[in-house]
Amino acid sequence: MINFRKGNLIFYFVLIFIVSSNIVFNSIYFDLTLISCLIIYVLKWSETNWIICILLFVLGIYNDILVSTSFGYASSLFLCFYLIDRVGNYLSIPSNTNIRFTIFSILMLILFFINYFAIYFIYNTSILLFINIMPYMVVILLYYPLNFIISSIQTKYDRVK
């Protein structure tokens, strides 16, 4: 499990690095905010750590300032994915990778449709479905490879500990 105090800071830096890379990467296929959500969802968090919640909240605000999205957008996404992970843990739902993947995919699709309809009804603009769904699909496709990498790093860290 990740513990802020024990020094496994690599994933915190990875998250800050990914959010910061928004100023460098500008691609229609990769949404770095969504990739950060995926990392937050895939990580095995420590159960009793207040700092994680504050860090995710601040990271979200930082992302919003940088990308110029509405305040609270990224932090609610980050905390939502963190909470879903926690709820599963709290209710002792078995952490089967396939079930977690299905939940993540459904959430991503719901998020896309919320975005799509919000823009359609608030701005009266219908954004291109194909181009805009691409970042969500890319994140869904990245689930298994990222899950494998992060799990192996965390398992290795646990073993060393």
């Binding site: 959010v19 207040w50 979200g60 940088l66 509405s70 305040f71 609270g72 932090s75 905390l79």
Partner: protein, 280 residues
Amino acid sequence: MRLSRNLRVQKILSPSSRVFIFAISLFIISLTLFLGRFELTQLAKNLRSHTTSLSYSISYIVSTPSNLINSGIQSILDLKEIYNQLNEYNRNQLTDSTSFQDIVSMKLKIAQYEDLLNLTADQEYDFITSRIIADFSNKFIGTILIKSDETEKLFIDMPAVGSKGILGRVSSLDNNVARVLLLDNINSRLPVIISEDAHQGIMIGQGQNDPIVEYVREYKNIKVGDLVTTSGKGGIFPPYLVVGQVARIKGERIEVELTEDVSQLTHILLLNYKFYQDNE
């Protein structure tokens, strides 16, 4: 009974439950900020404008590795682009000399007509060159961050243009960094005129789609390929700046292809056009 209640209270007050409740509270605060449109308040605007350069500085330091890779790739692409442009330049050299003569004669003619009609001369304005430091144009809330040595001369709503046409306007600024709201941003509204007959309309950003022009009365007279320029109404943009060309007409929906592609630019021009300040 009391024992079971104590157990329940103990469970709620256990460290993991408290963290969980804290996370939910933060999530609710975030949602309230987002759904309550906190960004529209003056406090949020001040916060955003004062922290943009700080967040940019942090991002710049943290993302140094990706920045190096990106600038390497960009240098290779730039070299290729320069080579192509040189070839294009050699090909167009002859036609350019005749175009230049045409432009000079046209300018002289316009000056004569304006003199005959006793028209008021258009307002003169200079410009500031600014470097693009971050590009967020591939989003439906397309913006770019710019940096200038003369940041103190920048102001909100300053028009931003490239070499081929208009890009957008400055939406926020602080001591070092300013943000330009691009024309394809879904919040962008620009008064334009279409074709030589000067059909008036408002161009509205559509995210990654081409912007559309609405509120055009005689839309049936507009053809694909007609030039779209700024009308100068509203006093933010000077008149007759090239915006783009009519790309498609679907009923009353007029789609405009922008002439300027921000992803190809490294620097932009900020026009020192203050219509209201100079006319007060």
